[in-house]
Symmetry: C2
């Protein structure tokens, strides 16, 4: 299920201030906003020597259900779906990971979770054991992992409200709102916010606890209500975030 193309990286060079920063990490978002920002130069070097870049094509999975997790990753770009499966095939997407999120479940097997690329994804991947050992040595690293985990817990609980108490229409609006908030801020064009939808209708359904047909119908309904406009099936514009928030029940 997961065919990836690793590329070993041990190139590095000194920074102006004498600190050694691996070349691979130089322009990496995760080094600034992600967990790697916690690492001093020498630890970063140690980690970069054992880390590999991976490219996943759409649909390829990082960790399969029940697999032992042998590696952690940072998401460099793209979107990773975290999903669960019931024995009879019903599926629920329980989270989306964007750059520069950390991917992995420290101290435990991945709790029956599947991580799959939605669209092409670039990862920076490293061995589990080595990273956990660095976490023990480096409290600041563990602190960052904790901070991210707490944020993900907040997001998961927000989504529980959406799944349990919102109507189909409100669920769709909530999803669009979430994507808009994760999108890069745009120059105020007066034409509203344009966003690309990383998930197919089917994945949106699995994320929102709906069927494909209901997702499609409610997208149409929001368009007819002029809350959104379609550039294509996978790209919409939002004339008024306020109106979308109202549609999301917030």
């Amino acid at each position: 299920m997961s065919s990836v193309r690793p590329k070993r990286s041990d190139v590095h060079h000194p920074e102006p201030d004498g600190q050694v920063v691996p070349k691979l990490c130089e322009s990496c978002e995760a080094r600034h906003r992600g967990v790697c920002g916690a690492l001093p130069g020498d630890d970063l070097l140690r980690l970069s020597k054992i880390s590999v870049r991976k490219t996943l094509k759409s649909g390829e999975s990082v960790v399969c259900d029940e697999d032992d997790v042998i590696s952690f990753s940072n998401v460099l770009n793209g979107v990773v779906k975290l999903s669960k499966l019931l024995p009879d095939g019903r599926q629920q997407i329980v989270g989306l990971q964007f750059a520069p999120d950390f991917l992995g479940r420290p101290f435990r097997a991945e709790s029956h979770l599947t991580a799959e690329a939605s669209g092409d994804v670039h990862l920076c991947s490293f061995p589990r054991a080595e990273f956990e050992s660095m976490m023990r040595d480096n409290p600041e690293l563990e602190h960052r992992i904790l901070a991210q985990t707490l944020e993900q817990l907040d997001e998961a609980r927000d989504w529980m409200m959406t799944l349990g108490r919102k109507t189909a229409r409100e669920k769709i609006a909530s999803y669009l709102l979430m994507i808009a908030r994760h999108s890069a801020p745009q120059p105020p064009s007066g034409q509203g916010v344009a966003i690309d939808l990383p998930l197919s209708r089917g994945d949106m359904a699995d994320f929102l606890g709906l069927t494909i047909e209901t997702v499609s119908r409610q997208m149409t309904a929001l368009r007819k209500a002029k809350v959104i406009e379609f550039d294509s099936a996978r790209a919409v514009r939002i004339p008024s975030l306020r109106a979308l928030e109202r549609a999301a029940g917030e």
Copy 2:
């Protein structure tokens, strides 16, 4: 909303090995299984001096939505509901905390969450600032917080599957199963597992994304299907956990 009766505690005495263990902490579950287990004697003493026991009556809240969180707590016994509210009044319970769970959201305001006692609850409560400072000094303490946060994230994601993809019947069964797994293990009596239900039908509805009436009907349906037996409305017996798991769709 929250009227509590604090009782200052600074009594303590030396342990046989010379280590000082505050008297208050001596028989405390949280010291062994909870986060306090991470603390050496002197830190435990420091924390115990600023901690207070609180008793909440059913329905009293620990942290109100939008309040600044001024304290963290350990749950000593009882059950605490974590819930969210939509502007129009719809409610969703996003988690249950049992002893010896840690209660609080480090590094941030409580993300619009309400924590409320379901039945009488005993807490051990301490000032936020002091505890966060101890977290900085003591990586092992932060490590335990991380471990618990990761578990809660797993649980939240499990529940997302339940909320998004299961039928009313399966949701009820999943809830009963979760309570059974949190209950103290019982001597094999041959009469099945007896469990007390900490939530009212209304709270079960808010936890499962259902209405009171549907909860009641599906409880009756499970009884008629002989998956559960009623000792009272708040206490059931489970003849076969396997059968209950099947009813939960697992």
